[in-house]
Symmetry: C2
Subunit: 414 residues, 2 copies
């Protein structure tokens, strides 16, 4: 184990201990100062970012677009920080409280997790976003971003740490790993003594690697092989509107729809119009034999398609015998993110809502609503596709745990 | 990966899917039939258990006592099953519900975790207990008990599976691993595709091995290096009563107190009486130099003592300068289970409750109350000492997760 990393872990633990004692007013003042200070240091941040962008000039445009900062993007980060300052603070909330038979006053109270580590790709905005959400929820954070964004991440974190220091707070509440090697990332996944939870943010490869290797508890986020099932009692225009929105509004994100299942009774009628609407938006269609018999322009799908998250303008289509076949297909191939039924039939809707085993299950709405902001949380640290701790969009509350606070007057157990 | 284990995982997943659809009345009827059937099959169960006990005749009495079943113990298991039947069913509860800005009706609804695996030691009662709690909460269970209890576990599970079968339900809702090798246990820890959560129950060695090896999400339970801090404003008699209860009522369990910290201002006055009361109950005392200067019969403690969970009639004692020293000591050495301050000072109590980072933090009560039954949950699957998902005593609700159920009328994201 890397000695420097152990020191970082110890620093984070010590900082977390003090963060737990900050009141909300103080935390909000700091968050607003973070915002001001980022804007005031725009030039330094852009200079650091330009080094990263220059070094990454061989990478695809999609990659450098995420990496690149501009004056406007820094302003947007500042606005994001102010929004986090305006959110309600979950710390200290009492989820439940009661008196037990022995007369103990028991409260289940929200407290910070402690030390949160994040492993993410070369997206400098995550540095600011994750720092803001972990700070507001009273947690120390250890950030390990993609190596291509290291200069940008350090510049951003230095600004935030400067604000902490100026206010007499422990700047180790926010730490960036300078060492972006795989070996050190792997060590971070085994830093159980100091890290309470590890949240990977990025593509399926990154997330799987963390899940497979980490002994620190992980919150799995983001993989979204989302399905839309068009039932026999679907309204055609509603189906078209939802499918197009879910597929094309932002195809690169995890809550975009990737698969379309359609009931055989309505496939002849609806599939041509749906396929046309998708094609009009530049979507490549792949399908099973039955869908291709109806719309010959659909390319053949392979077995691999059913479990693939394209993150692109591609959609695979399958004609199913009935709702049960749709449910079984989804529960087999889905990543457990978001699934939709389009139906005006009460029983079909209920069966789908009950039997689909995913974080978010919809009747008659777009998968694109699976989002912390759309849900009204005012923030999003990620979308959990696991069942432990948090499932679905995660806001500030999901960055907390609880402890039982118990007041007695001398009770002993009989 | 063991082929047979993959089959077990697939069976469990299929059974879980069907369990999710059972209503509470049906589940309760089955639980009551479990109880009746256990009693009716007492002879077969005892015969199987006698084989296990005979094979374990070289083991210490403590071990065989836990392993041995009697007619009365089977009756107690049956009563336990009836109690689980009488508990409220958490499935379907709505934790929160609201309408978002787009008009979507969003519910956060309690659903089963799916497949729960448990690895535990040679205690046949865990087979029945865990089967009851997972069944009531709609989960399939895979049980891997200590090899010394295999015949007993199989006999018990066969009775429960027989009841499931007789009622036309999937008997794979309850499965026992016949293969109790370490290799297969290790494979179970990597069965991510089929197992949603793994709960180890047993000693520190077992739990640490699971935490270190498992890629399936784990709920860490049970390690309890619990502390009692006697503040300068403690009432002496209350301190004695609580310390004695916490230490001696049941020393082998995780919520027994292991360490005593005492404020230097009251140590001269109170420590002799406390030490005497503990010695009267046969407790071996180990302490730092300051405690030994006050009570010379206290044996010297080593550094290792401060982090050791004795699970025995032993207690280590340390005189501290002030409350902050006590808090720092506890946050350094505690396993995060249960800690107590004995004090009539408001500020001392508040500081302790706020700053101690453990699942259960008490003022003026015994650590022995950290228990699902004492908390009023009516059940206990274990006591979580981790921060993710569940912390403290876990009842039925902690064996569930949530999913977002969302009803729209054609909403698309703008």
């Amino acid at each position: 184990m890397n000695e420097e990393l152990i020191q970082i872990g110890q620093n984070a633990k010590a900082a977390a201990y003090k963060l737990n004692l900050l009141d909300t007013v103080t935390k909000n003042q700091i968050l607003n100062q973070f915002a001001e200070s980022l804007v005031a240091n725009t030039d330094d941040i852009l200079a650091a970012n330009q080094k990263d962008v220059k070094d990454a000039n061989d990478m695809p445009a999609k990659f450098t677009d995420r990496l690149k900062l501009t004056e406007q993007r820094i302003k947007d980060m500042a606005t994001g920080l102010q929004q986090v300052a305006a959110l309600a603070d979950p710390i200290g909330n009492i989820d439940k409280g009661w008196t037990n038979d022995a007369g103990l006053l028991i409260e289940k109270r929200r407290v910070p997790l402690g030390v949160v580590a994040m492993i993410f790709e070369a997206r400098p905005n995550v540095t600011v976003d994750a720092s803001a959400l972990t700070f507001k929820s009273g947690n120390a954070v250890i950030l390990r971003g993609g190596k291509e964004a290291l200069n940008s991440n350090l510049a951003l974190a230095n600004v935030l740490r400067g604000v902490l220091k100026k206010n007499g707070l422990d700047e180790n509440a926010i730490q960036i790993l300078h060492d972006t090697s795989h070996a050190t990332a792997n060590d971070l996944m085994h830093l159980n003594q100091y890290v309470d939870v590890l949240i990977p943010r990025g593509g399926a490869g990154l997330i799987n690697a963390v899940v497979k290797n980490s002994t620190v508890p992980v919150i799995e986020t983001g993989a979204g092989n989302c399905h839309i099932y068009v039932d026999k009692d679907a309204e055609e225009q509603m189906a078209i509107d939802i499918i197009v929105n879910a597929k094309v509004q932002r195809p690169s994100v995890c809550n975009a729809a990737e698969k379309l299942l359609i009931h055989q009774d309505v496939a002849d009628q609806m599939l041509p119009a749906i396929a046309q609407a998708l094609a009009d938006h530049g979507v490549e269609l792949r399908g099973d034999d039955r869908s291709r018999a109806i719309v010959p322009s659909i390319k053949p799908a392979t077995d691999e398609d059913w479990s693939t998250e394209y993150n692109d303008l591609i959609m695979a289509i399958k004609v199913v015998d009935d709702e049960q076949a749709a449910i079984d297909h989804i529960n087999t191939y889905s990543t457990g993110h978001s699934e939709v039924i389009i139906s005006d039939n009460y029983q079909s809707g209920q069966a789908f809502l009950t039997q689909i085993d995913s974080a978010c299950v919809y009747v008659n709405a777009s998968t694109r609503f699976t989002d912390g902001f759309e849900f009204g949380f005012g923030a999003e640290i990620g979308i959990s596709t696991q069942k432990l701790h948090a499932r679905g969009p995660m806001g500030l509350t999901e960055l907390t745990t609880t402890k039982y606070v118990i007041r007695g007057n001398g009770q002993v157990r009989k």
